[in-house]
């Protein structure tokens, strides 16, 4: 028993030493100060290219996907949701998550950087340990992200995180207007994240999306403002979502929890699996 206690003691000492070594290995002075809460600027809504109004995004869509986008706009005009899938509480996925409709927090660790977005508690893991993107990774809405820290000005402190994200699943859209990404989900998202040189309370994300729905890579620069004394809110979409998709139609729940039509002259849902009294 005494031996077992000694071995346990040695193992504990070794683990503590290893943990201490790991902690020591992370020199936070080498990384930029991205601590805090980051919000999209006032006046910016849920549009992809924040330099343009939501109705004038001018996405470089192929003819096929431009037609899909226009059909989506017609459906939204009639009261539908078009190609925007998020009304059912599906996550934004990448790259839309970086619209940061609700604030985000960035946690830098030596081998991985986490981006936590309040809306739906969306989590991005950006691996910076030198690994390669796996070939057999199951796709996900947030994708698999590989990052690389860059010391642009050579002052010994990283100032930019370059990220490449692949292995995405759909359905996804760029924003609430329904600008679609290709159904093949072969999207590649490249980002360059850095602090504004003149104002360290502004963070920029230069996002380039490569997707078969686009005629060329689409680059936008998104900006976020650091919030002093932030508050954080839990945002669990399933808690109170009142929009219901049945078949191809989207209905809304009434105050009593019954189905209401959302559109004019909307058809009833198909009730073929309910036993109906004979007329």
């Amino acid at each position: 028993m005494r031996n077992r206690g000694s071995i346990a003691g040695i193992m504990l000492t070794a683990m503590l030493a290893l943990a201490n070594t790991t902690t020591m290995a992370f020199d936070e002075t080498k990384y930029p100060d991205w601590i805090g809460q980051w919000r999209r600027p006032a006046g910016v809504g849920n549009q992809w290219d924040t330099s343009k109004p939501v109705s004038k995004q001018e996405a470089p869509l192929t003819a096929e996907y431009q037609a899909i986008f226009e059909a989506n706009l017609a459906d939204q005009a009639a009261g539908g949701q078009g190609t925007d899938p998020t009304y059912t509480c599906l996550p934004d996925g990448m790259p839309r998550a970086m619209n940061v409709i609700f604030p985000m927090e960035i946690i830098i660790q030596p081998n991985v950087t986490h981006i936590i977005i309040e809306y739906l508690s969306m989590l991005r893991r950006i691996y910076t340990d030198g690994r390669q993107s796996p070939n057999d990774k199951d796709p996900s809405f947030m994708g698999y992200s590989i990052g690389k820290w860059i010391d642009e000005d050579g002052d010994g402190r990283y100032d930019m995180l370059e990220v490449e994200t692949r292995d995405l699943k759909g359905p996804r859209a760029f924003d609430a207007s329904g600008i679609p990404l290709h159904a093949d989900n072969q999207t590649v998202v490249k980002e360059r994240i850095y602090l504004d040189k003149a104002n360290s309370n502004i963070l920029h994300d230069e996002v380039t999306t490569i997707d078969h729905a686009l005629t060329r890579p689409w680059t936008v620069i998104k900006s976020y403002h650091r919030v002093p004394n932030p508050i954080w809110i839990e945002a669990i979409c399933a808690e109170g979502n009142q929009h219901v998709r049945i078949g191809s139609e989207i209905y809304m729940l009434s105050a009593e929890g019954l189905l209401m039509p959302a559109k004019k002259n909307q058809p009833l849902p198909d009730l073929k699996y309910f036993k109906q009294p004979r007329q």
Partner: protein, 113 residues
């Protein structure tokens, strides 16, 4: 207090007819301060005296909280007036925003609006 005055939604609000808003006056049955959007269940007396409970979708707590709202900003029994964008179908549902709602006596729901 800075507010956008509009409902920034994670999804399209196209099912609500913003071009033809209507005014409602009623008694709060319940204020659901939940994600993805808050809801006011409002008891509204029709012209014929019958009461209809409207289901009215507003901003997310993530937006409202940063405008000073809390889960107790509205309580059952509160009398309010508001301008809503009704459902396109005409069913008793709609959307509201923080700049178009107040208590019946004209007081703001949250100071600053």
């Amino acid at each position: 207090m800075v507010t956008s005055g509009v409902t920034v939604a994670h999804h399209s609000f196209a099912m609500f007819d913003k071009e033809n808003p209507i005014d409602l006056e009623g008694i709060v049955q319940e204020f659901k301060y939940v994600s993805p959007h808050s809801f006011i269940l409002l008891r509204v007396k029709d012209q014929d005296g019958a009461t209809t409970v409207w289901n009215l979708e507003g901003g997310a707590p993530s937006i409202l909280a940063r405008d000073g709202w809390t889960s107790t900003a509205l309580k059952p029994g509160d009398q309010i007036i508001l301008r809503i964008a009704p459902l396109q179908s005409g069913a008793p549902g709609g959307s509201w925003s923080v700049d178009k709602i107040k208590f019946k006596d004209g007081q703001p729901i949250v100071v600053g609006h």
